[in-house]
Amino acid sequence: MRKIFPADLLARDERFVRLTTEQRFMDPRSPGSRSNPRGALKLTPARPDAPDAARALMHGIFVGEVQALEGAGRTCWDFETGDGGDETPFALKLDMARQCWDEARHCEISVKLSDWMGTELGEFSESTFLYEAACNPDPVLRLTGVNRALEGLAIDVFNTMKEFGDVAGDPVLEFCEDWMLADEVTHVKMGSDWLRRLTEKDPERRERALEFQRVVDKLFSLGGFRGEDDDSPIRLARRFRELAGFDKEEMDDLAEISREAKDDADRMRERLVAQASADS
């Protein structure tokens, strides 16, 4: 089996439908798309489309968990064991194996929750940008991209979904999201701890890793999808991120990245609306 497994070869059964990021943007159902320029809305039970929006988000969580499982598994395989720059320490591999188990459980939980919410597997599309971040050839960059940026996003998503379960009166959803949230805090903390340990004597590598994290964070801010405003669809979960090793400055930076992403998306939407008016 090769080292570094490309995202386009990720193995799926016939139910799964894969979209590229471009196709996803062009999908009229996607928030912020050409046909849906209002952008993402906060998930509340009062929204007329709340059941479908929650089901779509849960399916997104499910495919995200599958890819997180695949990414953690590849980190066990892709690198030789050792303390060299292109190697992975034994203890880090053990953490990644533990993460495999956690992500496998999250897949199981998400499948059961999706069923509970009336969703068929494959009902919504899958894009592979989460796994793509897990393909970085530098294990430290992989850790910051996946364990700090993406698993950090998972903290925000699970916290939001847990609150939605509470407000919507769905104790099963709230219960499961809280358990997954606990695991995600552990995964992000793993990323924070390993980043510190592996780059202790290599500030340049640390800066490269943090820059990669910023790029992934911006990508996953998805046009203001995650932020600190009252109407942000996904709220930045500062309390849980702090438990996971984020300091205040990092969280302020993340909030700023999210604001920038939202401003970019607002400008794009204005352009699209203006263009649509001119066309009509």
Partner: protein
């Protein structure tokens, strides 16, 4: 209540543990180093295969089992310094080159249509050999002096039995044609021959010798 000052035997009547065992400290350390190496190879490939198998239930089980074997490797890693091996990496090694050849062949399948081969290698060949070697060690080491190894062997064996059952049932559920039985059998035979050449996961003597004219050696 009985008189607390009354002398009692240090070993209770139901405690039949004995001092003698088949392994010296060095024997045990060498085997434990071999165990750690094979557990590492196993958890690494299970993790790597997750992305390559399309069957969702298999994908999730591989993720779960990946951790089981990582944890076993950690148990053995921690046991090595207790067996006077202060540099655990020194003994973290394959039993011989033949075992390396076995692992290379077992980890070779990658394509999504090769799930049967992936599972057969692990659940019909490697894990049964691990169960055999661990059981031999468990039943032959000193129940008093080597108690920490025994405890780890028991934890590991519990996982091995459960994972073997999971894997075997997955294989049975995937095979639904005569040709697939042939594929599974052919791959198993190929790997069994390589394992035979290696003599087991700890090399020759992995499960001792069953012949009357040969002493049991570690």
């Amino acid at each position: 209540m009985a008189d607390p000052k009354k002398a009692r035997a240090p070993f209770a009547p139901w405690d039949r543990r004995e001092l003698p065992g088949a392994f010296t400290v060095e024997d045990s350390a060498r085997r434990v180093g071999n165990y750690k190496w094979i557990e590492m190879k196993l958890f690494e490939v299970l993790g790597g295969w997750v992305a390559t198998v399309p069957e969702l239930d298999v994908k999730m089980r591989l993720g779960t089992h990946c951790y089981h074997h990582a944890w076993h490797s950690e148990l053995w890693h921690k046991r090595l310094p207790e067996l006077r091996e202060m540099n655990p990496e020194r003994l973290t090694m394959p039993a011989n080159d033949e075992l390396v050849a076995f692992v290379d062949a077992m980890t070779e399948p990658e394509a999504p249509e090769l799930t049967i081969e992936k599972l057969v290698g692990v659940y019909r060949v490697l894990i049964p050999h691990k169960i055999a070697a661990y059981t031999f060690h468990l039943n032959n080491t000193s129940t008093i002096t080597d108690a920490p190894t025994i405890r780890s062997l028991k934890f590991a064996l519990q996982d091995e039995f459960e994972d073997w059952r999971d894997g075997e049932m997955l294989i049975q559920s995937l095979i639904d044609a005569d040709e697939e039985i042939d594929r599974a059998a052919a791959h198993q035979a190929k790997l069994e021959k390589l394992m035979l050449a290696a003599g087991g996961i700890a090399g020759p003597g992995s499960i001792g010798s069953a012949y009357a004219d040969q002493e049991v050696h570690a």
